[in-house]
């Protein structure tokens, strides 16, 4: 799923400095699961903003709505009637949300409340880790399910760099070296010699570096 972090309050407050009637839109999809954009977080953000404004003695009316997802036009359609009554709209969905809204309602101003970060999963209650970089050509089967593209800082394809020490990446002690894990796993499985074959340079064209991407289901799109 898509994992995001909420923006600091100061940044959000700056976005709405001169606006007194706003709408906060939550999304019941990934951001609810990673606890940044669900109904609860919408309420918390609304209360925090009201506190900030009340401190400066300036009133702020905040409406709240959470739709099923902000990445499908029909759901975006649901707020059509009232969307323009606000001075601004804060979307707590991932990066897709504010863009879909802006496309649907050009005259309204949309602000993102979260920083969308990566595709990943929950390793424990309240902790999410990156697992996939969306490079477009999945190769994890060569590395026993441990993806060097997403989980190696340099996305190396042929063995660890010189900086890997005691199983951790040179950039920080919290980041485990994925190659260390790959080699250890291969040794356990007794398939170490798989790594002998040289992996050619990766064709990044299918990744973000190849420009914005699109995927079409021929059987559906008419």
């Amino acid at each position: 799923m898509i994992v995001a972090d909420r923006k600091p309050l100061s940044e959000i407050l700056d976005m709405i400095t001169d606006r007194d009637k706003i709408l906060i839109m939550g999304c019941k999809g990934c951001v609810t699961v990673c606890n940044v954009g669900g109904v609860k977080e919408v309420q918390i953000l609304s209360s925090s903003l009201k506190i900030a404004r009340k401190k400066e003695g300036r009133s702020l009316t905040v409406d709240q709505i959470t739709i099923e997802r902000q990445c499908d036009p029909e759901y975006i359609e649901q707020v059509k009637a009232t969307i323009n009554d606000y001075d601004a709209v804060i979307s707590m969905a991932c990066g897709v949300g504010p863009q879909f809204l802006s496309e649907a309602y050009p005259q309204q101003k949309f602000f993102p409340a979260v920083n969308t970060k990566f595709f990943g999963g929950a390793t424990s209650h309240g902790i999410w880790e990156e697992r996939c970089a969306g490079c477009g050509t999945c190769v994890i089967h060569y590395f026993d399910g441990l993806c060097p593209v997403a989980r190696c800082s340099k996305s190396l394809m042929n063995g660890p760099c010189g900086g890997s020490s005691k199983g951790y990446c040179e950039i920080s002690k919290e980041v485990p070296c994925i190659w260390d894990m790959i080699v250890k796993k291969k040794m356990e499985q007794g398939r170490l010699d798989d790594l002998l074959c040289f992996t050619p340079a990766k064709n990044w064209r299918t990744s973000r570096d190849g420009g914005p991407r699109k995927s079409v289901r021929e059987e559906l799109a008419i």
Binding site: K28, G29, T32, V33, N35, G38, V39, K40, E41, Q43, T66, A122, H125
Partner: protein, 1014 residues
């Protein structure tokens, strides 16, 4: 079995003595379909435990633990509490007794009295306060303790001068001087005696100066000194000059194990533990560092977790343990006390202490002996109720049962176990009369107010002067009238009194009130009472909210009455705001399968299965091995010498004969699902797992037993002369010649117990060794017998064995953990044993022909079984009970119970008692066909749920699960209602009924006069 016709049996039981044992027995029987008459000679239930500050080994506050039980027994529809009364006589036979009672006058009507305390304030007469053990005074009109049940004052006629002041002060008009002693007669089916014991009075000893110096106190007095409700409000001070003591000495065995002064040769079995507890608690209380010393003969910490408790005291809190019998306590003039004693090293020492606590033991009171005499109950030599080990709770008179310290000195868990066992025993032959005499409250159908606007009634209480004396109650009442949705507001003197309740009901019906707010005391104590009242006129109990304007307002802001009044208004406004949003919650009930699964075919399992069958319900008895009987098959006799084998054979035969018991040998428990009242378990046969059988049952009793530890120490198994207890019992059974011919026999204690690896005491090995030694002595009087021990723990009446052993010339040598006895057999045959004698302080050598190792008792290996039932086992592998003190037979998860050695090593009579107790606890569930579940539970709104698993991960009881339905499911009967998942659910999909977000926010909004917004 009485031969009388079964028709004239009576479905009620009389319990004499309302201490913790009497209360437990009453609750068990009342909840299993019998009407209970609970008689006590004092003015309130609670007994000795109510006087305690903390209880070992958990250091829980005694009152916090017992007061819910007091409230439950006080409010129970089927328990009739008869205070201030004595049982005069008991005629008739088991099943149909006639009990004559003498009800002494209280001079205060306990229905009218609300314990507001005005009469105590004005009474001019003071008298010694027995509850605080004469440390302070009470008035002629008094209440035993603030949480007393019945919650009402009493007048002590022999000190009262009859001046009439209390009648003038009583606002509730509860005083009735014309009260007379009355006699009443009650028909009951059985009687349970639980009169308990009193503490030994040490003024007998002049050497301890107890009656001459206030700083020499008994253990119960010290308990009152430590107690927050005691004379010094919990601050540790000594009575003489209120100084905080820096050095306190505890003297053990005062009035126990003592034949010349006290003529009590038995051990009171709890004093060692409570002295350790008091020393640790005293250290916590003292403002300055406290040096605590315990003078003892044998440190008897033989219960579960007791050994570790002692280690913690010695190593953690630095309590000094001095093995010595103090000779004299000499008072000095500055309040100090000089102790003269001889430690093990032999020189005479003197040490000055600030305070001395005499660990006084138990003794049967005069009245108890007289009552036993009147009822024809045989007492043993120590004037405790005579019982056989194999029927531990039955007295000499049929239909009369005994439990608690009147049977023999014991601690609270053992008393509570015996209470439940006595409950099972008493009701066993009355099962045809179950539910015959019990009352059930007919309640009108609940009215549906969902369409109606909220119409709130506010009832403000004065509580005598407790609220009215500080806050301006009429002003609060007038203010309440101005609040939104309030259609009626009134104030009254005592909202909780019987008559006020009646007219509240009238007003609610007249005005069509559909939400009730009571502004008075704490919901913790009075919410159930008011909820029941409004339920009686068709209002759902959850359409009710309380504002605590006494304990959390007038009582804590006495000096600022105006602010207390303003705060009362705020609290009422907040309560009314929440009341407007309250909805009625349905009462969730589940139906019950009236059968019990018993796991384990030892004595405990057999007794449990037979108990359930005799109560009239089906029992499934599952045994892993191919034979019933368990460990008991290897035992010759109980500590009182009763043969075990015939008893076990009879048990097995009864079980096989009884058609309500379904026996499954060589069968194991496969998979367990379901909750209290509705378990489904698959049984699979041990030798071929495919052969499975599914059974349904309402409760389960785990009696998986234990086994003897096979020692690696002391050459066991390498030399035929070295046996364990079970080997010796077997040898005695087939009267092995070698026993008779051996000249020197040696018993070595604590083999495998009380070590780093197994830091617990196996409780029964001392008794078993001494009993076997006596048998060997009888076999061959010339044999020299030695018992090499660390602490002799012949607790309770078992001390007689130790006394007799010494008389028979059996010699006892003490060793400590660091230098145990050493055995070596250089030539394979001849054994050589060397041990350092504790008196000579020099090693002795001997060549024993027979060495018996008192091996530890281990729990049977059942890891998978325990996981199936999701029940915890402690680090030693023994099952962990719900509460060490007051629920020693239940598991934390409802509907599951435990018994026997699987709980902790214990003697056969204790196992039998615990098994019967488990039956009685199971009857609470299985004797009914439906069971009610709490209504304050969490529920999921499917279309808001994003199936994000937060609730699954966060629930402390892992109740929620996300199934193929695609959203979270919370099983109503499993949810405990804590609300953790509700506050963490990112989609706000879960609501906790009666504590929803809106209801909580309504309270904060109301405080700041914000109208109920979105």
């Amino acid at each position: 079995m009485s031969t009388k016709g079964t028709n004239n049996k009576v479905g009620s039981v009389m319990v004499v003595g309302a201490g913790v044992a009497g209360i437990q027995a009453s609750l068990d029987m009342a909840n299993a379909g019998y009407y209970v008459h609970l008689v006590d000679s004092s003015s309130s239930v609670g007994g000795l435990m109510a006087q305690l500050d903390k209880t070992f080994p958990t250091n829980d506050c005694a009152m916090c633990v017992i007061s819910p039980f007091l409230v439950e027994v006080g409010r129970h529809l089927n328990i009739n509490i008869i205070p201030n009364s004595e049982l005069e006589s008991l005629e008739g036979e088991a099943g149909a007794f006639t009990a004559k009672l003498k009800n002494n006058p209280r001079y205060i009507d306990s229905v009218k009295c609300t314990a507001c305390g005005q009469c105590r304030q004005v009474c001019p007469v003071t008298a010694v306060n027995e509850f605080d053990c004469r440390l302070d005074l009470r008035k002629a009109t008094f209440i035993k303790f603030p949480q007393a049940v019945p919650l009402s004052y009493t007048i002590d006629k022999n000190v009262c001068i009859g001046c009439g002041m209390c009648e003038k002060a009583c606002l509730a008009g509860a005083i009735s001087y014309s009260d007379q002693a009355r006699f009443s007669e009650i028909k009951v089916g059985a009687v349970v005696l639980a009169m308990g014991n009193e503490l030994f009075d040490p003024s007998l000893f002049d050497t301890y100066a107890y009656s001459r110096h206030p700083n020499v106190v008994t253990s119960l007095e010290f308990e009152r000194i430590l107690s927050a409700s005691g004379p010094y409000k919990g601050h540790l001070m000594r009575p003489y000059d209120r100084e905080v003591p820096q050095k306190i000495a505890w003297l053990q065995c005062i009035g126990s194990r003592d034949i010349n002064h006290a003529d009590h040769s038995y051990c009171s079995s709890v004093c060692c533990m409570y002295s350790i507890k008091q020393s640790m608690i005293a250290k916590e209380h003292a403002e300055t560092p406290l040096d605590a010393a315990i003078f003892y003969m044998d440190m008897r910490t033989h219960g579960k977790e007791f050994e570790r408790y002692r280690e913690r005291a010695e190593k953690g809190s630095g309590v000094r343990f001095i093995r010595s019998r103090v000779h004299t306590v000499e008072p000095l003039d500055d309040g100090g006390l000089k102790l003269k004693y001889i430690p093990e090293s032999g020189e005479v020492l003197e040490e000055v202490f600030d305070m001395v606590v005499l660990a006084a033991g138990f003794a049967t009171s005069k009245d108890t002996k007289a009552l036993a005499q009147r009822l024809g109950i045989n007492l043993n030599a120590h004037s405790y109720a005579q019982t056989s080990d194999l029927t531990p709770v039955s007295t000499s008179r049929e239909g009369v049962f005994v439990c608690g310290t009147f049977q023999s000195p014991k601690d609270i868990p053992q008393s509570v176990m015996e209470a439940s066992a006595a409950a099972a025993g008493a009701t066993q032959n009355l099962s045809e009369q179950r539910w015959s005499l019990t009352l059930t409250k007919e309640l009108p159908a609940e009215k549906n107010f969902s369409e109606e606007e909220p119409k709130i009634g506010v009832f403000v209480c004065n509580c005598g002067i407790n609220i009215g004396g500080v806050a301006d109650v009429p002003a609060v009442r007038e203010y309440a009238k101005t609040l939104p949705n309030v259609i009626h507001a009134e104030d009254n003197l005592f909202t909780c009194s019987q008559d006020t309740q009646e007219n509240i009901k009238k007003i609610i019906l007249e005005k069509g009130i559909n939400r009730v707010v009571v502004a008075s005391c704490s919901p913790r104590t009075h919410e159930p009472l008011f909820q029941e009242t409004i339920r009686e006129i068709g209002l759902n109990p959850y359409l009710f909210e309380m504002a605590n304007i006494r304990d959390q307002n007038t009582w804590v802001h006495m000096k600022t009455p105006q602010r207390a009044t303003d705060k009362a208004k705020d609290l009422v406004r907040m309560a009314v705001a929440k009341a407007a949003l309250l909805e009625s919650l349905p009462q969730v009930t589940l139906d019950v399968t009236q059968a019990v699964l018993v796991v384990g075919g030892g004595v405990a399992g057999l007794e449990a299965a037979l108990g359930v069958a005799r109560q009239g319900f089906v029992a499934f008895l599952v045994e892993r091995s191919n034979e019933l009987g368990g460990m008991a098959l290897g035992l010759n006799a109980t500590w009182q010498g009763e043969p075990v084998l015939p008893y076990v054979m009879q048990l097995i035969e009864d079980a096989k004969k009884n058609e309500r018991i379904k026996i499954f040998l060589e069968t194991e428990v496969g998979h367990v699902t379901g909750t209290i009242g509705n378990f489904t378990t698959t049984l699979k046969s041990a030798n071929n797992p495919l052969d499975t059988k599914v059974i349904n049952h309402g409760a389960a009793i785990l009696a998986t037993g234990g086994k003897e530890y096979k020692p690696h120490e002391y050459f066991y198994g390498k030399n035929p002369k070295i046996l364990t207890h079970f080997d010796l019992d077997a040898a005695v059974r087939n009267n092995d010649k070698a026993l008779k011919d051996s000249k020197i026999a040696v018993f070595i204690q604590c083999v495998g117990s009380r070590t780093e690896e197994r830091a617990y005491c196996s409780r029964v090995c001392c008794i078993h060794s001494i009993k076997s030694a006596l048998i060997l002595k009888k076999l061959n009087p010339e044999m020299q017998i030695f018992i090499i021990y660390r602490d002799i723990r012949t607790y309770g009446l078992r001390e007689d064995l130790y006394k007799e052993a010494r008389q028979q010339g059996i010699r006892f040598i003490r060793y400590n953990k660091d230098n145990p006895p050493v055995i070596d057999s250089d030539n394979g045959q001849e054994l050589k044993l060397t041990v350092k004698d504790h008196i000579l302080q020099r090693p002795i050598e001997m060549n024993p022909d027979l060495v018996v190792l008192a091996a530890a008792i281990l729990p049977n290996e059942n890891k998978t079984l325990f996981e199936h039932f999701k029940v915890p086992a402690n680090s030693d592998g023994f099952l962990v009970e719900a509460h060490a003190k007051l629920r020693p037979v239940d598991f934390a998860s409802e509907g599951l119970f435990l018994a026997g050695i699987a709980h902790y090593p214990k003697s056969i009579d204790e196992s039998i008692a615990q098994a019967k107790a488990a039956v009685s606890r199971a009857m609470r569930i299985v004797s009914k066909n439906t069971i009610a579940v709490d209504s304050v539970i969490a529920s999921v709104n499917p279309d808001r749920c994003a199936a994000c698993l937060t609730c699954v991960r966060t629930c402390p009881y892992n109740v929620p699960r996300v199934g193929e339905e695609g959203y979270a499911i919370i099983e109503p009967s499993d949810c405990h209602g804590c609300g953790c998942c509700v506050s963490e659910c990112p989609g706000k999909a879960i609501t906790l009924k009666h504590f929803t977000d809106d209801q909580i926010n309504a309270k904060t909004d109301a405080l700041f006069y914000i109208e109920a917004s979105c």
